[in-house]
């Protein structure tokens, strides 16, 4: 899966399940500050990304993640 389609997947999850405005989802948007994702959402997001990509970001490395770009980088690093 390439980066663009991954980004689209993440955007879909955020918009459909976490009530985020589509326009707010940019590469540099901060999940916690700009998109108002809380720790429980972060866990849910982790589970769904695993379903979509088949790759599992370790919770410890997800703690370092702040922006959507960080999420993509973390997935790429796997």
């Amino acid at each position: 899966m390439n980066e663009d389609s991954l980004f689209a997947e993440i955007r879909d999850i955020l918009v459909k399940q976490f009530d985020v405005e589509e326009a707010a989802v940019t590469l540099d948007a901060n999940l916690y500050e700009d998109l108002e994702i809380d720790s429980i959402d972060a866990v849910d997001l982790l589970v769904q990304l695993k379903e979509v990509t088949g790759k599992k970001i370790a919770p410890e490395s997800f703690k370092e993640v702040r922006t959507i770009r960080d999420v993509l980088d973390a997935l790429k690093a796997l």
Binding site: S39, I40, V43, L46, V47, P59
Partner: protein, 267 residues
């Protein structure tokens, strides 16, 4: 002078209690529980036996603490204590021994335990036999908590996530409310006060106050999720509102306990 001897006695008593807890833990972990693993192969019955033994051990320990007068314990609302009921038990967490007191009251309740404790050679067999939930993986943690309650059992969580910091108002993380919302179970709120403070997060174990620390364990009537958040809202709103409602509930009880301790001067 008298208070000084009392103080020395309680300092000694505290050291004694810690020692007994340690030795008791070793006997359980190295002797009794390995035998239970040997003779009880069935996980479910092993869990029940293990938790009964832990409940008895903790009960005896609480009895010892009261007998040597290192603490006083007052339990309110004991009519709401039902170890067989399917519910999420939540409590604030001022001291190290809250969990010991609560497990002695609700021995069959499940709880979440640090992965490091499960792997600990001395305590590992005890907590593995009791089949407590490990905190190792956050996504599995939520799922295990919800799933466990789904099987009709009870679970104890401290929504603060760790012991209360001194002088700071209590605050709850949203995990416990999320579990209640997803499992759709009743909630049994418990407010705990320890006055004067003892064995709290920033105090060393040998800090013993001048007067005997008195625990008030106030077991409140069980609440339905819909009692706390009546409006139909989506799950994200529900867990936030439920979390705030629970926090408010416990804070109010703690304020009430504090108020009833202090005399009123300007009456």
């Amino acid at each position: 002078m008298r208070w000084y001897f009392e103080y020395l006695w309680r300092l000694f008593g505290t050291a004694l209690c810690f020692t007994v807890f340690g030795v008791g833990g070793l006997v359980y972990g190295l002797l009794i529980f390995p035998l239970i693993f040997l003779f009880t192969r069935d996980r479910e019955s092993r869990r029940v036996v293990a938790r009964r033994l832990i409940g008895k051990g903790f009960g005896a320990f609480v009895g010892l603490m009261k007998a040597v007068n290192v603490v006083k314990i007052r339990i309110e609302g004991s009519e709401h204590i039902d170890d067989q009921r399917r519910q999420l038990i939540i409590a604030n967490h001022p001291t190290l021994i809250d969990v010991v007191i609560l497990i002695s009251l609700f021995p069959q309740a499940n709880c979440v335990i640090k992965e490091a404790v499960r792997r600990n050679p001395f305590m590992g067999s005890t907590v593995r036999a009791a089949d407590y939930i490990s905190n190792s993986e956050p996504e599995e943690l939520l799922e295990s908590c919800v799933g466990y309650l789904g099987n009709g059992k009870s679970l104890l969580l401290f929504p603060e996530g760790t012991r209360t910091r001194h002088q700071e108002p209590i605050d709850f993380k949203p995990g416990a409310a999320t579990v209640a919302a997803r499992a759709k179970v009743d909630i049994l709120p418990i407010a705990i006060e320890c006055e004067p403070l003892y064995l709290s997060k920033q105090l060393p174990w040998y800090y013993v106050p001048r007067t005997v620390p008195t625990f008030t364990i106030r077991v409140l009537p069980p609440r339905k999720v819909t009692d706390l958040v009546p409006a139909a809202v989506d799950e994200r709103r529900l867990r936030h509102e439920l979390n705030s409602a629970l926090l408010e509930l416990i804070r109010r009880e703690l304020a009430d306990m504090e108020f009833s301790r202090k005399p009123i001067y300007n009456a």
